[in-house]
Symmetry: D2
Subunit: 423 residues, 4 copies
């Protein structure tokens, strides 16, 4: 929305907003209601919350004669913004029966009309444009969560109830993993906001210098076949590969494989948005916790890359255009293609890649002022950074400097890994 | 269904079954999906489970060429019958997304057709008739649970979302509580099955002798005004009125009033199936735990009646015909009328009455053979008996010997109390 | 202490008090400090609490110029008397480091001196005598708890750390179980206080009439060999024998045998106060939960007796004089002898016997006035009655009307069972 | 022990070992038994575990004809070394009654004799010397934990039970906080092992380069008076100062002040190893969680230093010789003196200083081979680094590169903070 005319603004807004509703189209009202675990949210809640974001942070500030669609929503659909006020308890989002799904869709329509009017009239207001843009990127994040959360909810019925039916054929290639070296040295890290003015979240800035030792990074993500070899080698039985907290997690949760995997005789099956499917040994392994990614890397004699290493490699490998994202409507990582032009593949899309970096502020980081300053900064504790986007990420959403973050035990995102090692 | 012709059988069956669907009519699919606490079940689950009961215990045994509607339902909708096999975890009934509500209604229709055929053909089979009758009484129990469970689910949105709108005017009378004496002695207790052959659950039999000391029982249930006086007197602040376990419950749950009560200035409001309403001081107090009923009685210088005392008084007071049950479509206890013909009022309907009796087997109790023997007997531990039915109980469902039972902390049933004392 | 002269009073007092200290003699200060689970208490705490009982309920009321030994003890060693004031949290009794064991013993000495003076001067005061007597019976209860609690604490080190070394030889007899019939009818139940004036707890009174159906009771408790046969028959794998709550308990706790049992090849070993020993197949089975006792009885085609049945049988079988109690210094149930004079054996001593009766007030039960009224009555919820005393009970402490009570999951007492059946 | 002759080795060993026993001298056997929370361990356990370390990692490998003191200790006193085998459950260390304290002291004596013999004979073996040295530094860490853990255990009895009585007078100075600037740039970070060969833990290495932006660091730690101002300003009521996880921690734990603080009218009191004392407003604030340190810094318009910033500042400020450590026998932070020679004060001793750095491996970090490789590396997850040592740290134990680490909620260490800010 930055540097667009009013019509472009409205079109961008309309496109992102419509995509959310389209994601809910295959679902019943019951599907949109449930919350299968505290970490996940109901689809209905996602649809309402992203609308609340526009109403609360844009309309309330910029609209003349602002009046809320429903005053009760201020608390019901506030996720975690303490500056805005109270929030309904996160683990009980699935108990919010009023509004119904139909009422939430009506809420969306009304807010969309008001936003369209506002953007047409005042889209050249820089503050408005910035917040509206933030709202769209925010909504795209929730589009990915809609997919990961409904996949989890449907996993109870793994044999039935696919969310999506059609599958797109993907190129296949049984390429061995190769290593690409980097010299290290003093590198620039973080979003190059000054250079091109493109959007980024506050946590990607400011750009700053980091000293790197020489390192090597793998040509592609670790795949299912390689991860299955770790399992077959007793990976989940040997504490030597695991962080202490990871080993406790393995035992307490009786974990024996990534989330959604089920052994069926000699083969592995996995629950997906297409229902249960055979695991493709050549596709990137997915639905790993940080603990699993870290343990695999140690078993493989390697390690996870730091986020600075990852970002440097990603910039060298080119942009995100070629990535496999959610617009494919596939929602399963694709087998790795062969590297071309001497650079790693699949840095963008397919699976988020756990890094070895704790999610912490960059030097001289400042949250944006106001309530939206709670967006990112206050979560910088006990989480790890993931990079690159996944097959459930909206196309165009990520970039080389994009920092996703989850606690080390989270598995339900499309999370995998790429190996690195000291040169 | 006992001693009916085939047409009568089918009509009885059809009537009870239709009543369940009618209860769900005001609800959205989302409403039918949620489980607001582990003790409650989703409406969709209730609708499916009672159908499962007929399919599993009647059709599977008596139908020629039996084939299940869906083999997965055997586990999904098994409540607690170990003899039948595994059960889906009780606290996660709200996560069962497949079948959808529409599919559950189709399941009901198919089973109803098969049952109608079977009853028309073989309704004179005593074993079939007994199990079908049990199934109907079972379904009536779940009809009450549908009401109590959806009331709880909607309580999060107390100001909105009424389940029912129309209210029936009820007679009012500010009668003071009076006492009716009984001589005690050796009394017959339990269902008089031998005499009239009417239906009873196995836990109401066998009829046996109990020695009673002389006692007095109150003319009517304790009402909201009386209970509010207990609160105003610091009832929830003084451990002397409470069982030790009850006092722990008060403090752990920060209980200050019955479930659903909310103080609004000088008056009390309560959540109900009509939304939030003023509490009627002359109506029986409702949604009490055993702990609260017992504490109130002690504060009032009285006690709860034993179930033998209650049953003796109820038989003296006449049958259940005059009671206020769910067919009134009101679902709120009505103010107590004046006693007529020298007997207590409201022994039946309005509110279940906690008794001082632990739920234990009667002497020489034998569960019925087969899986349905798990219906009642195995729950005879750490529960207390309630008597008389409520305004959410289907008309015709209860009788003097009927034993309901809940753990002492349960509040979400329509549970109140009647006082007793030693003569 | 009732109907004794002052010297007799002091002697009785001194004897009971000295016995508590003697029980702690084999233990180190560390042993006396630990609390191995919330249900158990440290020995040091027991020694202080029983002293607190005399100081708070006797000295504070009757002593001239009463001054507490230490004002902090009022809260530290108050178990559950709300009328007295706050209590230190039960699960953290093991964290009470001050006073030390030496200081607690000094506390005992000082209170003993004051009590001796008081009893010598005013032992003929009926109120004083009643409370002092209650205090001694209270202390005897804690003497048993000292043994059961330290046995549990030492069970972590089952191969080592015996509490007691010497063992007394016991007669052996491989008597088969026989049945003794009773006619039932209207019986007197509860303590015959009016007749002989002997001490009883308030929960044993008032004596009242109960109607019994004809029944039979087993000649002796179920023994280890019989219980092992239940295990070998898959008793812990078959839900049909268990109450629903019991089956949940089996699975949640992964119970496969009574507490302290350990399979060692073909034989069973058990932890005891003598360290680990072979289980004697002819000795009464011990350390059962109510769930286990109830399940065994169902498997055996019998049931548990009600407490009224048990009491009637116990009165017929003679008094408690012949029982095997804690004065034997053995603390392991002895093999059952042959019945003599046509009556059941081991009704008293060896193992507490779970009954089918919930722990509830007798008709017209009244707690004693004052704070000591909290002794028994407020626990009448979700517990079951046990009868007869055990090999850890002080000699002379129990009687036919004595009601012990524990929640159904409790295993760490010396709890077994005797079968009954309908005649 | 590095580069010492045999006599020096034995002397060093003997000195450290004797210091542990001396720390337990003021305690009763009961004191040494208890575990007041899962994070803490009993003093008896500490005394045994550090001995187990020498027996398992030194004697077992180097002693001829090695035989364990007691084979059961291998599991009982193994803290977390999976390579060595099973461990007794951490939260139940307080239940280990055997061995007794006396037996543990005998264990220590025997191992000390064997170690002295071994060191005298083979002290020039580099591998042996390295492991023995590691064992002594390990024991010093547990000496600090003995103090922090017993302080916590005694905090239940805050008014009584001091561990230590004598207090040493400390200089006072009401110096305002000043700022010292640093230019940033590429700095060397981590232990300079190559240069001087002194001991360090594996997590302090390898030395590597880090790019720093210009920053300023405070002249002294934040003191109690300043922290009290944060409280008085509503610091614990305003979510804006807190990390999201920190705010949840505040509410869930109802935190209103640092651990051990108690408001007494207008003043603050704190529990200490001297019993309860007045808080000195000029002494460094202590017993803060990371959440509290981070929130205070944000409130103060500053931030925590990174560990690289801290280390650079510490090296500039001089060594640890002047620090206030445990050898003062005071165990309370001393008021900050005025800065001399233009450098920050109290970088070493008094209080551990929380840094903004997650505890992660340095580039090219390699754990040491063998079981002792589990010492540090496997804990690099969800913890933050603290620097500088405290008044409970043994003198000579810390250095500029020393990395301590605790989860962000830990309060019971002597943990405070020093502010930093961007230049």
């Amino acid at each position: 929305m930055v540097r667009q005319d009013a019509a472009g603004c409205v079109a961008a807004y309309t496109g992102v907003r419509a995509a959310s509703v389209a994601l809910a189209a295959p679902l019943t009202p019951e599907d949109c209601q449930v919350q299968s675990m505290p970490d996940a949210s109901p689809v209905k809640w996602h649809l309402a919350h992203v609308t609340w974001f526009f109403e609360t942070f844009v309309l309330e500030r910029f609209e003349d004669r602002f009046a809320p669609f429903d005053p009760a929503y201020r608390e019901l659909f506030n996720s975690y913004y303490q500056s805005v006020g109270a929030q309904s308890p996160r683990p009980q989002r699935g108990l919010i029966l009023r509004p119904t799904l139909a009422e939430v869709l009506a809420y969306r329509s009304q807010v969309d009309e008001r936003m369209a009017t506002l953007l047409a009239e005042r889209g050249d207001d820089a503050g408005l444009a910035a917040l509206a843009t933030l709202g769209l990127h925010h909504e795209q994040q929730h589009q990915e969560l809609i997919l990961t959360d409904i996949q989890h909810a449907l996993s109870l019925h793994r044999g039935r109830a696919p969310y999506a039916r059609s599958r797109q054929a993907a190129a296949r290639s049984a390429e061995r993993m190769r290593w690409f070296g980097h010299d290290g040295g003093l590198v620039e890290h973080g979003h190059e906001a000054v250079l091109d003015g493109g959007f980024c979240f506050d946590n990607e800035a400011p750009r700053h210098r980091v000293w790197l030792e020489p390192f090597e990074i793998a040509s592609r993500p670790v795949n299912n076949g390689e991860y299955a070899a770790f399992i077959d080698d007793g990976g989940y039985d040997q504490p030597c590969w695991w962080l202490a907290m990871g080993w406790d997690w393995v035992r307490a949760g009786q974990h024996r494989a990534p989330l959604y995997w089920r052994r069926d005789g000699a083969r592995w099956r996995t629950h997906s948005l297409h229902g249960e499917v055979d695991l493709d040994p050549l596709a990137p392994v997915c639905h790993l916790s940080y603990f699993e990614a870290d343990a695999f890397a140690r078993w493989a004699g390697a390690r996870l890359p730091t986020e600075a290493e990852w970002e440097k490699a990603a910039r060298a490998a080119g942009g995100s255009e070629a990535g496999h994202f959610a617009d494919s409507d596939d929602f399963l990582p694709w087998p790795s293609p062969a590297p071309t032009n001497g650079a790693p593949v699949q840095m963008f899309g397919d699976v988020w890649e756990w890094t070895a970096s704790a999610y912490l502020p960059y030097p001289r980081f400042r949250p944006v002022p106001g309530a939206v300053g709670e967006y990112n900064g206050k979560f910088m504790c006990n989480q790890f950074v993931l990079r690159g986007g996944s097959c459930a990420t909206p196309c165009g959403h990520v970039r080389a400097s994009y920092r996703n973050f989850f606690p080390p035990e989270a598995q339900w995102q499309f999370s995998g890994l790429r190996l690195a090692r000291d040169a």
